[in-house]
């Protein structure tokens, strides 16, 4: 029975580690439909970053704080790295044949491996034990702090991610992009940004910690990075709707508030006067006679 519980605990811990990797992976795959061969390598960079931070800063602060600091460092580095990868290798190929990004992903994977060998040298790194290693007893089975940390972090991440995807505006945008990027774009989701964020986030998820070498399990931790949603500014739907009813309605709508105002000859409010170089933003041009401006729908009057 003891062995059984012990194995369950071991399985859960190991499974959590994989779950964290898979979480990051599914975010990318779900949104950009790309088998990201470079995922494991970003994980590796996370682990090595954390190792560097820990070995450099050991002794300057308590170990638990060091753990958190290295965790944050790994999150920042990996997110930045994956943003860069997405921007350099995947985004330019968004409209290319489906298999093209697969090849750049493979290239990226190879590149990251090589760069890591250059930066960190191709040998084993011992990772110091940062958390207390005395095991707790649970019904005859033992579990130590690192294992508990892994379980807790995975649970938190899972919960956080579920909340993010199902409940927030950003999550809705991500799901919309996954379903149909073009329509999501029409609805005002900047899907490039969303995708980059998906890509960045998944590696935040994949921080591998090399700790806990004493029991052979890699401890892993990561955090949820909350992003702000930035929508396209919808081109003044309020104004557009009012104008749709009016005589000079614009086929297709879609002008910026500034343009609507300019057409109507109204002075622009200060916060819309963005481009000082644009003289019309300050002085409305002399208006043609209203009659001439109106024209008919088919023969538009003088353009403003």
């Amino acid at each position: 029975m003891d062995t059984f519980i012990q194995q369950i605990i071991n399985g859960l811990v190991l499974g959590s580690v994989y779950a964290l990797v898979a979480l990051g992976y599914t975010m990318v795959y779900g949104i950009i439909n790309l088998i990201n061969f470079a995922h494991g390598e970003v994980l590796m960079v996370g682990a090595l970053t954390s190792w560097t931070v820990v070995t450099e800063l050991r002794g300057t602060m308590p170990d638990w704080l060091l753990m958190i600091v290295s965790l944050l460092a790994a999150i920042v580095v990996c997110a930045a790295l994956n943003f860069t990868i997405e921007k350099v290798a995947y985004r330019p190929l968004r409209n290319a044949p489906r298999l093209a990004p697969l090849i750049t992903a493979m290239g990226m994977s190879l590149l990251l491996q090589t760069l890591a060998m250059i930066v960190w040298k191709p040998n084993y790194k011992p990772y110091p034990i940062l958390l207390p290693s005395e095991p707790f007893n649970i019904a005859g089975a033992v579990i130590n702090t690192t294992q508990i940390l892994i379980l807790v972090v995975t649970a938190l991440t899972l919960g956080g991610l579920m909340y993010l995807v199902n409940k927030t505006k950003l999550g809705r945008a991500m799901r919309a992009t996954a379903e149909n990027p073009r329509v999501a774009g029409l609805m005002g989701v900047k899907h490039h940004r969303r995708r980059a964020r998906g890509a960045g986030r998944r590696d935040v998820r994949g921080q591998l910690r090399l700790g806990a070498a004493h029991h052979g399990l890699p401890a892993r931790a990561q955090g949820v990075h909350r992003g702000r949603v930035r929508w396209h500014r919808q081109p003044a739907r309020r104004h557009a709707r009012r104008r749709d009813a009016g005589p000079h309605r614009i086929a297709g709508g879609g002008l910026h508030r500034r343009a609507h105002r300019r057409r109507a000859g109204q002075p622009l409010p200060g916060h819309l006067r963005l481009h000082r170089a644009d003289p019309r933003a300050h002085a409305a041009p002399a208006r043609p006679a209203r009659r001439a401006r109106r024209g008919s729908r088919l023969t538009p009057g003088a353009s403003p």
């Binding site: 088998i35 290319a96 044949p97 093209a100 697969l102 090849i103 990226m108």
Partner: protein
Amino acid sequence: MMKNKLVVFLLCGLALLVTPLIAQYFGNAWVRIIDSALLYVLLALGLNIVVGYAGLLDLGYIAFYAVGAYMFGLLSSPHLTETFPAIKAMFPNGLHTPIIVAIPLAAGLAGLAGVLLGAPTLKLRGDYLAIVTLGFGEIIRVFINNLDAPVNITNGPKGLSQIDPMHLGPLTMGRPVDVFGFTLPPVTLYYYLFLLLVLGSVVLSYRLERSRIGRAWMAIREDEIAAKAMGINTRNMKLLAFGMGATFGGVSGTMFAAFQNFVSPESFALNESVMVVAMVVLGGLGHIPGVILGALLLASLPEVLRYVAGDLQAMTEGRLDAAILRQLLIALAMIAIMLARPRGLWPSPEHGKAAPAAAPPPAPLPAGSIVDVTRSAP
């Protein structure tokens, strides 16, 4: 014009024939590089049928290579006769399969394996198919790795050694041959064999591409449902594509085993499959010259860089390892080529567009004719 073409053709043929003789002058290692590049060309041409024509992403292609290699390895190394007394009794002199049996057998066996893989995956598309084929590739490798107990069939991770070179009766490729005062070492003989196979595959691929079957594959690639609606038996066509691609893989596997005299499971790891996919996509999906170019490039680049990396290493005052530099350059090349040419280095002419310059301007349409609006520019 016709005559010019013939001259170019003959010159190309002559160049191909002379290449190993020149390379041989600089050392047999160079001929070896060319040989293995030709093997990859063969593999890439096979995968091109599956991925390029039929549009089925196969990430376990190397499994068929392994099937071919192990088939030949078992049938022409002393392993089987040493392990099983019954076989020893049947073939007291040992199994020595001649080339004329080995090639069709490898083709058939690998083709069968291809159909076996294809059958359960008929309903899968895109990335899901890729995952299943990836799994299949790993299954074959793990299987070979572990089939040394309880009955030792594949000799496990130790691999099969002492595989015969390709031979037919008294003619063997294992010894140098003297022709008109030239000594042709075995590597050069293999070059000619591989060249023959590659040329055969090119002709086969070319004819397939322009056949009813090839058109059916391309229809499936573009839109499977539409292809079905047009009366194409998509099930059989997909199975045929898998089988046909696997056949090429099996034959090149046989050649690999005979060429190396040794096979072990680690030659058939996942990254080999991935590399072959990279060759096909990098060169130009579904376009034979492109695929050949991609395969030659990716197969010979690592080897050629071996010679360059030493100098580069000296430039960095020995701080960087030559092997690491080599890998770095390959990775950069893959990314740069794909970014610069997303459709591949030498892509097939775009679907639905006339060949450049050759086509005369379209005749004005008679009044009242139906215009195909679906063909207009996007």
